[in-house]
């Protein structure tokens, strides 16, 4: 590791995904994020780290929490933040992703945060611009800051990630959150299980170092953490399960199915939740076990850390293009 020229131990220009990051790099991001958690709880949340920098949020999909989280993170670090959503941009007028990228690039932003329905679009964008690119979700590929905020939540609650048994349940097929979490959690030494009906388990996923279960009670046995995913109905072309009531009956998280998990198992959900579809309200609102609101809080801290580190790396002569 080239510690001298990279003060944070994260030698990358972009954050396009978790795949390929090593445990030290992930730990570096989490350590830095940790320092922002307390700051965000103070009355004065501002630090002038990114003064003069420009952050553009380029969102091709509707998003409330991720966009707001990036916006807050940028503003708390003193950066200028511009939000571009599809509804108001020239994309509506037929401009391609690359043309939009070139146009924005000409305005000299320092960081571009992109969310796009097509897998690989963050990578494509990163090849065309001079600034740092952060993937805020590309299709069913990756959503790295979500995995990082989940990891920070786990680390703060349990103190470690290594050795934990973690179940990721639900719509794995369409989930970038699942893929990023699989990469991160397995890299950090957790034992990851996936639980879903077979129609929502993508082909060959067992080669990503996970165990696959098709029965909730069996899969949740002795788990330390249960991560629920949202059923992404907007991505479901054709039918993958017969009905919401059947889905909830077999794969919705309720106390009955949770019985086999560890007594203090942590419940997580990336949001937004479909109550009564993938998760029972009682479980979601269980103050002692549900980390769902904490996840949102960690999101801002993680994004502040990522913005700070990538911006610092902009001045680094040879960052790796990952």
């Amino acid at each position: 590791m080239n510690g001298d020229t990279e003060p944070f131990g994260f030698p990358h220009r972009h954050l396009l995904g978790i795949e390929g990051l090593n445990p030290l790099e992930i730990t570096a991001l989490l350590d830095r994020a940790e320092s922002y958690v307390e700051q965000n709880r103070q009355a004065d949340k501002k630090r002038d780290v990114l003064g003069g920098r420009t952050l553009i949020n380029l969102f091709y999909e509707d998003s409330t929490r991720t966009r707001t989280s990036f916006e807050l993170a940028g503003k708390r670090l003193g950066s200028d933040v511009i939000n571009m959503s599809v509804a108001t941009s020239s994309v509506k007028k037929g401009e391609t992703l690359i043309d939009t990228a070139m146009t924005l690039n000409a305005m000299h932003p320092d960081v571009l945060v992109i969310r796009h329905p097509d897998s690989g679009s963050a990578k494509l964008l990163s090849e065309k611009v001079n600034c740092a690119v952060i993937n805020a979700g590309d299709g069913a590929h990756e959503h790295p800051t979500q995995a990082l905020l989940d990891a920070l939540t786990i680390r703060r609650r349990i103190g470690k990630i290594q050795g934990l048994r973690i179940a990721i349940c639900g719509d794995i097929l369409h989930s970038r959150v699942a893929r990023s979490n699989i990469h991160l959690l397995t890299t950090m030494g957790a034992r990851v299980r996936l639980i879903a009906p077979r129609t929502l388990i993508p082909t060959g996923i067992e080669h990503m170092g996970v165990e696959v279960f098709y029965d909730m009670r069996e899969g949740l046995q002795d788990c330390d953490i249960v991560m629920m995913l949202r059923l992404q109905k907007e991505r479901m072309h054709g039918n993958y399960f017969p009905s919401v009531r059947e889905y909830f009956h077999f794969f919705g998280l309720d106390y009955a199915k949770l019985e086999g998990a560890k007594p203090d198992a942590l419940i997580m959900h990336p949001g937004p939740m479909n109550r009564g579809v993938e998760i029972d309200s009682e479980v979601a609102d269980d103050f002692g076990r549900s980390a769902i609101h904490e996840q949102v809080e960690m999101g801002v801290a993680v994004r502040m850390a990522v913005l700070e580190i990538l911006t610092a790396n902009l001045d680094n002569p040879q960052p790796r293009n990952l």
Partner: protein, 437 residues
Amino acid sequence: MAVKGDRAPGRVAYVNARLLDPATGLDGPGGVLTDGEMIKAVGPSVTADAALDGVTVIDCGGQCLAPGLIDMRVYLGEPGEEHKETLASAARAAAKGGITSMVCLPNTDPVIDDMSVVEFVARRARLQGLSKVYPYGAVTKGVKGEEIAELGLLAESGAVAFTDGFRAIKDAQVMRRAMMYARTFDLLICQHPEEPSLADGGVMNSGEQATRLGLSGIPRQAEVMMIERDIRLVELTGARLHINHISTIEAVEAIRSAKARGLPITCDAAPPHFALNEVAIGDYRTFAKLSPPLRLESDRRAIVDAIKDGTVDCIASDHTPEDEESKRLPFAAAAFGGVGLETLLAVTLELYHNGHLTLLQALKFLTSAPADLLKLRAGRLAQGRPADLIVFDPDRGWKVSADKLLSKSKNSPFDGRLVQGLVTRTVIDGRTVHVAE
């Protein structure tokens, strides 16, 4: 004659019988003792002399005593087509035919694609107190081939397997998802193997006979095309698939080679396809208009061979009652299908009388094989199993006569046929529900 079963059967010893249990290979003299709804003992020690006080003794007169038959493909007409068949009329026909368990198709009105219909059928059948009825659930909502039905909930409420019945699931993506989803719960999907876009408009087997009669044909390839597609989907999904009523050489070959490759595929044959060929249509006989259609003699012989070598796993009647209004029509306009509950055993026993199978082998296709496939408790002569039994004389000859059938509809393709093998007593849950004169 049909016997109204008494409510408390008590203990009954069926003695002086030739015991036949395909599950264990038992074929020897002895008897069966039942206690209430269960089998208590099986073997040579069950005799009239050994019977304790309070045990009713029934002398089987040396006839065969076997597990009651399981017919895994029956259309019952209820709810929705009670003018063709009701649970009551089908249950009487089944009792006469020695069938103690029926698995009924979901193509009713309403379709069995909802838990409430599964429960309705099961409850109505229980009220008859005759043959047990296990419903198939529909694979797709409304058997429309579009959206997957609630397979998991239907299975929990009692559906033993899933099929769209008379309709093949045409869309490969829907079939793939259905199989994938079914495998989540290890459920069995059964398919009527016919490519609808090729078979549409056809009324009998395509070929010389159809040409002479001036009828439009269903190409034999329509069957194997669907089977081969589904074999590929089994490779893709790993799901268990059962193919119903195969009728062609090509279908046999495709399934035989898929089984040899170790794929989880099973199939059944229906009596018309191993006992008849398209000649039975003769001069536009609509009782011989079946789906799949009767094929060539070479196909019939291939089905017999497939039964002998184990390519075929089960035999099912494919009982499809159609009333006179549906059959007394020009051939092209008439409905497909034939009744089969009362002829299932006798026509299957032709395979025994013709030297293709032993008696024990023939019975296996109608008892333990479907029971194993559908995970039913019945189909075995063993302690602790349901007391579902038949006593029959495999050699007794009789003539199939449509107007003597107990089925509400009389459309038997075997009308007028001389057959051998008569059920003389049918016992369900320890109660005698049918005795022949």
